[in-house]
Symmetry: C2
């Protein structure tokens, strides 16, 4: 996994942070947060918080006490130890797109299927810049609704040996994910000792946590599995239109969910979540890769560090329908600030298209290219006497060239990052490849080749049989 040892780009002054700090304290205490779960409300009541119906008015100092119980950093185990990850500090871990009901393959856009899900899972296994396939890489419309979480989890566990995300549609689904994790990782004690999954708990912003996601949160937290408490903010719709207001709301929502996590199980690992962009105020459409979301991302990193929490943000987001110029620059417009802010857990890192409605095969390749480039860019320079190549200048002289210099010959294989997708062919060579040799066409060849070359990571036969038995049994019990 990647360690970002470059400086963080911080844009909030101390004064600005104080204003935001006063803001969330007032909002959480005076407007409060709604928890659509009696269990959650009861925990807050027992802890002495003021309650009206399902609204909890939280004491900011109490919230900070709960936040302090969360670990600043933690490990998440993959079944291949080489793919285990660290969350927090300078560590950055990347997962694929999450949630799209559609896929795009070249000019074709269609409903996602379980085959697509498996394809993307294999691609995530194949690309080393991804630490995880994520969770719901796409929503497989051909798999039975009540049991598809079993199919998806089985695919994530068997087609990759990387960290995976837990299903959060309901408490039932969460229990199934945890049970399947226990099979693969050697039982409940083992996964409580070192967590093996990360689960996304979205807020129904503004200021409401819904029952089904909270049910899932209860299961994951009780099992010591990390949860990402994520305010879902499209400014103008789910939050006010001013960025500072969105930041204050984001703190309020994230910290309220984190406080609940600590009430469920003190010390349970959590991630300060952020999904922050804006709508187009004329059409109401969500916008991604916007300047406002870039600023929000930079601020979010600074805020999460202020609270001593690892954070989730970023990704290769775009509103574009196809992997064109807009898709390229909007994705980078989010991914570059993701690195500048040092996001610890990055969902939607590969494959996101059309505002998250579409998982794009070609876009998946584009994004992995960007991730590779950014890993190189965010690796600090080593500057010492030898790196200055004084002797090469003596050798080459004035107006010469360094192509054959000794210094070059010793380093030419590794001195520069070599992209796998970008073309720098001269015009004649580029033309000889056919008029369709643009980035999307090259990407289409690359992902197909990756699938052809894919090798399934080894898994113990007995474990696999046990997993399959579980899936078959539970599918029957769920009536699918």
């Amino acid at each position: 996994m990647f360690r970002n040892r470059m400086p963080r780009y911080e844009v909030l002054s101390g004064d600005a942070m104080e204003v935001l700090d006063a803001g969330w304290r007032r909002l959480i205490a005076e407007v409060g947060v709604e928890f659509m779960s009696d269990r959650a409300v009861e925990l807050f009541r027992e802890a002495g918080q003021k309650i009206e119906d399902n609204t909890v008015f939280l004491d900011p100092e109490f919230v900070l006490e709960q936040v302090a119980k969360a670990p600043r950093e933690f490990d998440v185990a993959a079944r291949n130890p080489e793919h285990s990850i660290h969350i927090g500090g300078d560590a950055m871990a990347f997962g694929a797109v999450y949630g799209p009901p559609f896929v795009r393959e070249g000019d074709v856009r269609r409903d996602a299927t379980m085959d697509d899900f498996r394809n993307f899972t294999k691609l995530a296994q194949s690309y080393s810049v991804l630490d995880s396939a994520g969770g719901v890489i796409c929503e497989p419309s051909d798999a039975p609704l009540d049991s598809r979480h079993l199919d998806m989890t089985y695919a994530l566990q068997t087609l990759t040996d990387k960290v995976y995300m837990g299903n959060v549609v309901s408490g039932v689904n969460a229990r199934d994910t945890i049970a399947m994790s226990e099979i693969v990782f050697g039982g409940r004690d083992a996964i409580e000792q070192t967590p093996v999954s990360i689960s996304l708990i979205n807020c129904n912003s503004p200021l409401r946590w819904d029952d089904r996601m909270l049910d899932a949160q209860f299961e994951y937290c009780a099992a010591g599995q990390p949860v990402v408490l994520t305010p879902f903010l499209l400014m103008g719709a789910m939050s006010p239109v001013t960025i500072p207001a969105a930041l204050v709301q984001q703190i309020t929502e994230a910290l309220s969910g984190i406080a609940l996590a600590q009430l469920i199980r003190p010390g349970t690992p959590v991630i300060f979540g952020s999904f922050l962009s804006n709508i187009d105020m004329q059409s109401g459409s969500p916008q991604f890769g916007t300047p406002e979301s870039g600023i929000g991302l930079l601020c979010t990193g600074q805020i999460a560090r202020h609270f001593g929490l690892p954070f989730r943000s970023g990704g290769g987001l775009t509103s574009s329908q196809v992997p064109d110029a807009q898709a390229g620059y909007e994705a980078l417009m989010t991914l570059l600030p993701t690195f500048l802010a040092g996001a610890n857990w990055v969902m939607h890192s590969a494959g996101w298209l059309e505002g998250g409605l579409v998982a794009g095969y070609e876009k998946f390749v584009v994004d992995t290219q960007l991730l590779e480039m950014l890993r190189v860019e965010f690796t600090p320079l080593e500057i010492d006497e030898a790196s200055l190549a004084f002797d090469a200048h003596v050798e080459v002289g004035h107006g010469g060239h360094f192509l054959g210099a000794m210094h070059t010959m010793e380093r030419f294989r590794t001195c520069f990052y070599r992209p796998f997708l970008n073309s720098s062919d001269n015009y004649e060579r580029w033309m000889s490849k056919g008029e369709s040799a643009d980035t999307a066409a090259r990407a289409a060849k690359l992902w197909r080749q990756r699938l052809d070359d894919y090798e399934q990571p080894p898994l113990d036969d007995a474990l696999r049989a046990e997993l399959e038995e579980y899936v078959v049994r539970r599918r029957a019990e769920l009536g699918d």
Copy 2:
């Protein structure tokens, strides 16, 4: 013009800067710099520097004394005072692509013509994010070679009222540019008082300044017109393959050119230039938008500030042949660090394609879109009590939406930046626009519309006649 009031992203430690500092001092003193101009060598000799043939071995302290004579910041006047610019400090000024022999218009790539030159000049006038059309926006193959600088300068002076760049092909061309500037701006004294052009003096890297460019430099410096002393470094060819070595070479070359400028005319305004990328070590092709060039750009900003000089770097660079995903992300891969580093004078900001061989009409539009987005992103947030929108939360409550909130109604017209090129249409609406509605297709419509809507800025008839008379007379004298 844009003022970048966000923090600079600095990546060099104090120790690293010391190593670089020792590096250029050794290189400039022991290997020296070749000046292919007897006038230049003579000036250095008179100033007590050690000379062998055309190589000047410069004393680093002498160089710093010369550098200290250059202004840290200065103004450049446009003939429309609203378009005058400031160079240095937090000011950032942007010019169009410079130098391509070819143009791309949709699927057609062809030799550039004077009509193309005029078109791009009009587009640069039309897009407010550009402070200048630049200079040689494209090389007009249909204009007579020896006098085309007259045609280009005339177009820049009459089709825009923004700052323009001076021709640097020879001392003769420089004198013509200066003479035409004197016509427009009221004589030699006026332009010496406040400069009206910026000229690009490229180094024939490594460590050699060629005679024709030096001849041009002599003319511009004598007239007090700013010059951009630019090491031209494609690492692996014109510099060693290690970034620190390239940075040391860049300092050496830029400072040597700046020292000459100060010997020609003490106090003449200069810009620390940087054009720094790398070749593909397998094919030898230049690469743009690379991680290495991004790092180099960030370091260059810090180095220029270290010497108290305004600097030129950045642009919308790409190796891509067409305005596709690669073109989008490579352009931003350079432009975003351009803003992070706070480059003061940014050439190649719009239209660059295919490693600078092609001026692309659609790419021009893509880049202006990026510039607009980045200007928004690099505008500091205003964070105060009112921006937190507490009352909006009271009004909307838990789980509601902010679309109709008072806070939203008061701000919805201006709260978010609205892109002119990006699409966030839903799928059905997007499909209804035809399958070709990708970014490049939209860009093609936009630049044609801009040309249709173009209005020539007013110019006094007598001035115009005087300019035309000059062009006709000089063309005849030059034998074209």
